[in-house]
């Protein structure tokens, strides 16, 4: 890992809308190196006068896809880089990136399981890389994704998740919808709490390898809740993004 991570100029191959606020950017990299599911890339924008802005975005694609990566990006209201990517970028454009980065919030099929993935909103992105990698590697490690969204329209990768679930290779998807639910919905319809965590963990045994990504409040609730119900702290890896919801 002592090799310097050089900036490289990627080409925007395609842009796919996922939800009203979320798009996936498929980038072709001249200097592609295989990543580990869960890692991220840095994106750097440069204005003609030299002004620069940088952000980090999780890789959504599996490392088995050579030569290109998917970055799934939520457009933030006051965003600088996300709004540029959503509003300005078109296929054929170039964009400067470097990566892959991060060596802790990663899962590879060889690390085993069972696997518990907990996502809030676009926090599903690095977990999707793990799910796609799991599928590409032919893994049947028991895996449960607990995915909290405001409404069904906010679910990213909805169709693909359903297809992967339907392959019957040990992947289960549990949604919770905190603001609006589909008609006739009988699943979870509240924020993640310890009761929900207990039910979701139970089939996986006492200490699954756990990855949690989302806004701070969700990550705090899920990570602390899991420890309270007996999951070993060292088994729980977290990644947070977005506003902290205050500085308390």
């Amino acid at each position: 890992m002592k090799r310097t991570l050089e900036w490289q100029i990627a080409a925007v191959k395609s842009i796919t809308p996922e939800t009203p606020k979320v798009k996936t950017f498929t980038l072709t990299l001249p200097d592609w190196t295989p990543h580990r599911a869960g890692q991220h890339y840095d994106v750097r924008l440069t204005a003609p006068d030299g002004y620069q802005a940088q952000r980090s975005y999780s890789i959504a694609s599996e490392p088995e896809r050579r030569g290109e990566i998917d970055l799934t990006v939520e457009r933030l209201e006051d965003g600088e880089v996300s709004s540029y990517m959503h509003d300005v970028l078109v296929p054929g454009d170039q964009i400067e990136v470097r990566g892959p980065i991060g060596g802790y919030f990663v899962w590879e099929a060889g690390m085993g399981g069972p696997l518990l993935l907990i996502a809030g909103g676009s926090g599903v992105v690095p977990l999707m890389a793990m799910i796609r990698h799991r599928a590409a590697a032919g893994s049947t490690i028991p895996t449960r994704l607990l995915y909290s969204s405001r409404t069904p329209e906010d679910v990213i990768y909805s169709n693909e998740l359903e297809k992967l679930r339907a392959t019957n290779t040990g992947l289960e998807i549990l949604h919770t919808f905190t603001r609006a639910q589909p008609p006739g919905w009988t699943g979870y319809a509240r924020r993640i709490d310890n009761q929900m965590l207990s039910e979701v963990v139970k089939p996986l045994g006492i200490s699954p390898q756990t990855f949690i990504c989302g806004p701070t409040l969700l990550v705090e609730a899920a990570a602390n809740g899991l420890v309270q119900i007996g999951v070993k702290s060292g088994q729980v890896r977290t990644e947070r993004f977005g506003p902290s919801g205050g500085t308390a």
Binding site: K2, T46, Y104, N224, T238
Partner: protein, 205 residues
């Protein structure tokens, strides 16, 4: 840099000029206080909390929470810079300078590096010359309130001139060492030193 890459159609949201020279390259100022940590937030009871200075010192020293609060404290207003690209200006802390802590031990002349260690097993390494002379403190209030657990409470190291992962949350001690030893993030691809003004984000930067 004649052939520097320009992002087509990018203008950017310009910062207020006053603050511009306080925001390191690649960073942007935020008004909230994001939380980042690798695992669940540790909870240590204050009656079981201690802070230890150990390693290459003549006699290790250990304070209980009550003893620690009686050490001379100071107010610090500093800018902090997270490697995930956010910078927060004018953060207000209260805590004990590492200089004050070191007054209670006799450092071995061989001591060159400090490893800060925390509840939950987190570690980070800092050269000794960069943690003394008013450059670092162990904070226990933020913005006039007890430091919240998710921000590293009851007490965290604050080393504002380095990226914020060096400011170990839930700090429980400082170990003086002769040879440098990579800490948690330093072993996982992040820069060993972490100077935000030199953009030392990742290994090799």
């Amino acid at each position: 840099m004649a052939d520097r890459f320009i992002s087509r159609g990018f203008v950017g949201k310009r910062r207020q000029t006053e603050a511009t020279n306080r925001v390191p390259p690649g960073q942007h100022a935020v008004s909230d206080f994001p939380v980042l940590s690798a695992g669940p937030t540790p909870r240590t009871r204050l009656d079981q909390w201690t802070l230890t200075i150990e390693g290459l010192v003549r006699e290790p020293v250990r304070w209980t929470w009550e003893e620690f609060l009686k050490l001379p404290a100071q107010q610090f207003v500093v800018d902090i810079h997270c490697v995930t690209k956010w910078t927060k200006l004018d953060t207000r802390w209260e805590g004990v300078s590492v200089d004050t802590l070191f007054e209670h031990v006799e450092l071995d002349r061989k001591a060159m590096v400090v490893t800060a260690f925390s509840d939950g097993g987190y570690t980070t390494n800092i050269p000794l010359p960069e943690i003394i002379n008013g450059q670092a403190f162990v904070a226990y209030t933020y913005d006039g309130r007890p430091l919240a657990p998710e921000h590293g409470g009851p007490a965290r190291l604050v080393v504002p001139h380095l990226y914020f992962w060096k400011s170990a949350k839930w700090v429980r001690g400082l170990r003086l060492m002769e040879k440098d030893k990579s800490g948690f993030w330093e072993s996982l691809g992040y820069n060993n030193h972490g100077d935000p003004w030199k953009e030392e984000r990742y290994a090799g930067d």
